[in-house]
Symmetry: C2
Subunit: 178 residues, 2 copies
């Protein structure tokens, strides 16, 4: 048990603050090196977790030739037929110029259509095709499965707590003067 505890905390070991900086210390790779200071930030933990989840997601989406942003956009369009690009940008917090290529990709793959809006010649109404709806569904299942596997150690209650915390963070006031 004490060994186990020590082993588990290896990555979070204290910085070697007692280390002298002489050349003698450079003879072999720094022992017990770690990211302890960074682990003091909540954001760093979130970043590290996000990295692995993102890799999972990309792998899950690969068979559908979708990525994070294209899948997200597709799902929102499927759920909200007739959506305007500006709305999509707002919903997903994506800059409008960046949406062009995304919408092009989806349209090119036959998953969505840009339809003209008779009452507003500046805009398109984004519609999902039948194929688009199908792909959104299948990809969603794949992501679901990947997420379930990743979150296997978290109870339903813990997941709800995470979601709650993430929402508080998302909706909180910005840190660092803007």
């Amino acid at each position: 048990m004490p060994w186990k505890g020590w082993r588990r905390s290896w990555r979070n070991a204290r910085p070697n603050s007692g280390y002298s900086m002489g050349q003698a210390q450079a003879k072999r790779p720094t022992p017990r090196a770690g990211d302890a200071t960074l682990r003091g930030f909540v954001g760093y933990h979130v970043k590290r977790a996000m990295s692995v989840m993102l890799a999972d997601l990309m792998r899950a989406l690969e068979p559908y030739e979708l990525r994070l942003v294209t899948y997200s956009a597709l799902v929102v369009i499927v759920d909200n037929p007739g959506l305007r690009q500006a709305q999509l940008a707002d919903i997903l917090d994506i800059e409008r110029p960046n949406l062009v290529q995304i919408v092009d990709d989806l349209e090119g793959k036959g998953l969505i259509r840009r339809e003209k809006v008779p009452t507003d010649r500046r805009a398109y109404a984004l519609m999902a095709t039948d194929r688009g709806q199908e792909v959104a569904g299948e990809a969603g299942y794949a992501i679901r499965a990947a997420e379930e596997q990743r979150l296997v150690a978290l109870s339903d209650e813990e997941r709800r707590e995470v979601i709650r915390a993430m929402n508080l963070i998302e909706r909180g006031q910005g840190g660092a003067k803007a």
Copy 2:
């Protein structure tokens, strides 16, 4: 209060599954559009929270001419004098080729030095300069302040819960077949 509750849930409104797909619906922008399906994934919540935290971080680091990866690398080098680049890559989960530019940047700013290793001519021992240690400390305070502001709605206990959950996610088994 009921109005307030309705207002708050606008972004998470149900998908308009009852919507017909006729041209008539395209006349005005889709009302009550949202990302409800995506909100069903824990990962999406984490992604959205991560986005705002990352923006905070970039803003906080800007006065120091540092970014996420350069600050992270600097701190790890400060804490672990004599570190090898391969170690740094492992610790931060950064690909070794990507480290070259990062280390170049830090060295160019006078924050770290590459020192030769007499016993291994393939490697460098990365050392932080006095200036590097100073900048790491100051930038750390700035990030701390930004993070405190962002997390103001989370209790200490909730923060610990988040960290715990993120660690479980990070250390869990990968989702989606590799």
